[in-house]
């Protein structure tokens, strides 16, 4: 069974208390339509499991098939450097038809980011290294497509449906 090789750390984008009993890590791609669907499921899980859940998102842009995936990942990371990672993350997943360069800029403006800084950060070596690092860690952990979820450290096979993720996290059938 594939296992998460890169433990959740302070450098991760997380929602939820660090001491949460249930940990869900997603490797995703902003241009992947399945990841867009999965984001809705994640929100439902967050709403139902509340402070019992720590959710972590890491990048796995399949840039060969999704030409906007890498710039979109850069945009989320750049927004993160201005403390708006999750706002950009959700915006991108809710507007997957608007991931071209002009749209990314308008997202940055809508979030009232410093746009000059956003542009330079999105393409900076630091951000690119972070994305590449996410991908490498994901590959070593057995990421096998997007999205790939790890529940409490183990890869979730069988899809990103609500019931499957709850069962993987809690061992309970809903």
């Amino acid at each position: 069974m594939a296992q998460l090789r890169v433990p959740v750390s302070a450098t991760d984008h997380v929602v939820g208390p660090p001491e949460a009993a249930l940990i869900l890590v997603e490797y995703g791609d902003y241009q992947c339509p399945f990841c867009g669907e999965a984001n809705v499921v994640v929100k439902q899980l967050q709403s139902d499991l509340r402070s019992n859940l720590l959710f972590v998102f890491r990048n796995f842009p399949l840039a060969e098939v999704h030409p906007y995936a890498l710039p979109a990942a850069g945009a989320a990371e750049a927004a993160g450097l201005q403390m708006h990672f999750w706002a950009m993350h959700n915006r991108l997943f809710e507007r997957q038809q608007q991931l071209d360069p002009a749209s990314l800029l308008s997202h940055a403006r809508a979030l009232r980011l410093n746009v000059d800084r956003f542009i330079s950060d999105a393409q900076s070596p630091n951000v690119q290294r972070r994305i590449a690092g996410d991908m490498e860690g994901g590959a070593r952990s057995g990421v096998n497509g997007t999205p790939t979820f790890f529940a409490n450290g183990f890869r979730v096979d069988g899809g990103y449906g609500y019931e499957n993720l709850v069962a993987a996290l809690t061992g309970l059938r809903v």
Partner: protein, 156 residues
């Protein structure tokens, strides 16, 4: 018949890469080879699996490895699939006699008429150093491949 285990000499093969182009395992002598058997072009799980390997080519390259995938589909089918999915590594056609190479590696599903989902790492001398048979419906990812390549590097 079960998948050839580590320590076995990798059976030689020559398969079509394109209508007028053939590739032999011997062409890869001197490098590590990641050999991927998969059931069929276009089936959703294979698509994901190969898309991930396609994206991870730089990591395989860093480990001195070339990746090659084999199914029973024809060269024309492979060409259309590779173009559609932008796959930049060889897809070889184990087409005639059907599945002969998959059979030689113990990676053929006689009941279905296509290859298993199987992964092998072959060293520069042509010896299988790792092999893994995945349940058909489970996409195996690259963790096992990368671990095998790492341990090969450690032994050099």
């Amino acid at each position: 018949m079960s998948l050839l285990p580590a320590g076995t000499k990798a059976p030689e093969f020559t398969l079509s890469l394109a209508p007028e182009q053939k590739i032999s395992l011997a062409d890869y002598r001197g490098r590590n080879t990641v050999l991927v058997f998969y059931p069929a072009d276009w089936s959703p799980v294979c698509g994901d699996q190969l898309a991930v390997y396609n994206q991870l080519r730089p990591m395989f390259r860093d480990h001195g490895a070339q990746i090659v995938a084999i199914s029973v589909d024809s060269v024309w089918c492979h060409a259309a699939f590779a173009r559609d999915r932008k796959i930049h590594f060889p897809l070889l056609a184990d087409f005639e006699p059907k599945g002969a190479v998959a059979k030689a590696y113990g990676a053929y599903r006689h009941q279905d008429g296509f290859a298993e989902r199987a992964l092998l790492v072959i060293d520069p001398a042509g010896t299988i150093r790792w092999s893994y048979l995945s349940p058909l419906g489970v996409n195996p990812g690259a963790d096992g491949i990368l671990d095998a390549l790492e341990s090969l590097k450690a032994k050099v």
